[in-house]
Point group: C2
């Protein structure tokens, strides 16, 4: 089961963190961008080429110390089909380096259309007599607003292709309370969604007690993290909002179980832009990313030990 | 304002319907698929080429009688970056034929990432000193589970680029009731989401009384359609679920206001696969789509007059 592989990668690296690959052009050193523009022009293809080189450098720099990467689909879509091609190439490259890849797409739709998203990101697409993995991630973030029949098609594909999902439960942004904190029969919406994750997860049991249906819970809500950790014993958490969005190491302690497992903490901007913050030679952007990833690892593991 | 343009196109054609471009390979006549495979192999590129030719034929056949098309992103993503390129090419082609294009992507994320989706689908992406429209739709469907700060970045882009959004309110699938029908302070979740649409829409007022923030409400829920029409006077409805999902013309009558405006009804499979149902020469697939689109127009306009 896919999240078993994630858990094993976390154990191997001793690092429950994931690097978010959200490559805005302004995060990329000029020497990379200028080279790409020189070769391909100030075009979407040029931007995409710069992103791919940047991503590869980051992956090379952290693949032995970080178990997973999380490319955010939006930052690739904004560069059109050329950007989306680089999303696929980034996923493929990270997998060849042994990393677990979570595509952050927050996809959602009704059953028949969700089958298409499942094929795209977590399975294969049939073309004539061939079956082709269009993107081939290990896991995909999804939005459960549509309910069970938008999720079941994913579970079938996850079973067949050893992949997993993370369902939005309590998002890191301030307005998440507008809908997610409202009470339904005395329970907040996020808890209702979390319980659906536990139920959906029964179809993808894992050998370490966590199912193949994880939940996204923001680092910016430490009380809810604790509450959800206790209420959802079989649901692994993907935790965004650490670092740039304001969540600190103390805030995410509650995401982990008594064995220090059960969650993976995402950091995007702090790692991608570490070279700017350090003020180091931009050519050393990947080294700076590695140093920040190690700093983050120490920061997180200090609170869960 | 973008939805003013949609309303004008509906008035011009006398047809409040939209053709959903959800092009599964099995909907496409063999003569198109075989030609594409012969030229490009049984590859994602071959599949994408077949989809583009199919879509262009459909658009040519209906562009004078149907005001809008709604390509569903999932069916393009499943063919990888080649499919996503055809999504962009389909959008561009439909616009040159004067059609209003709604990309059905149900995108959602926190503010900074939603800015990237907004740039991708509803605005432009800055690359060096250039600004490039990556996909360039007139409107995008979005999921509001994350609340206001996931929506505001879209509204800024909509203002700047004359584009609009449709927020999921009450989806057409059976499980939509799991979350969406629950009561929060006596009001169903879908009504709470609908009221947020009215509030968000205040920032994009339109000249026909409808804002640039529309709502997705399924044809499969006629009572809720009526209830929401009455409660959300400034919110234009995009109504899926007509036809293949079971909603009939009588079911969607409540989506319209007293002037017969305020909604657009989607049909995908019935139009795309009309050639199969008719049993006509597959070479006449586009003619069959046109006949079905006219039949649907008559079906819908009969109940709103």
């Amino acid at each position: 089961m896919a999240l078993d592989r994630l858990i094993e990668a976390i154990k191997r690296t001793g690092n429950p963190s994931v690097v978010g690959l959200d490559p805005r052009l302004e995060y990329i050193p000029d020497f990379i961008v200028n080279k790409a523009f020189k070769e391909q022009g100030e075009t979407l293809q040029g931007a995409a080429a710069a992103i791919l080189e940047f991503n590869k450098g980051l992956i090379d720099a952290v693949c032995d110390i970080v178990p997973a990467v999380k490319p955010q689909a939006a930052y690739y879509e904004m560069y059109g089909w050329a950007g989306v091609r680089v999303l696929a190439e980034t996923i493929s490259y990270a997998k060849t380096k042994g990393m677990f890849v979570i595509t952050d797409g927050k996809r959602n739709d009704i059953g028949s259309t969700m089958e298409a998203y499942a094929a795209a990101h977590l399975g294969v697409t049939r073309v004539g007599s061939s079956e082709i993995a269009a993107f081939g991630a290990d896991a995909l973030t999804v939005n459960g607003y549509l309910g069970t029949d938008g999720i079941l098609p994913l579970l079938e594909v996850c079973k067949a292709f050893d992949t997993g999902i993370f369902v939005l439960v309590k998002t890191s942004n301030p307005s998440s309370k507008e809908l997610q904190d409202n009470l339904i029969d005395g329970l907040p919406v996020y808890m209702k969604m979390g319980r659906l994750c536990e139920r959906w997860g029964e179809q993808l049991p894992g050998k370490y007690g966590y199912s193949g249906v994880g939940a996204v819970v923001g680092a910016t809500w430490p009380d809810q993290l604790k509450e959800l950790r206790s209420a959802l014993p079989a649901t692994f958490f993907l935790v965004p909002g650490y670092g740039a969005q304001g969540g600190g190491a103390a805030d995410i302690a509650g995401a982990f179980d008594k064995n220090g497992m059960g969650a993976i903490i995402n950091s995007s901007r702090a790692v991608l832009c570490a070279w700017k913050k350090e003020g180091c030679d931009p050519k050393d952007y990947a080294g700076a990313a590695r140093r920040e990833a190690l700093r983050m690892k120490n920061d997180i593991t200090a609170v869960i030990r």
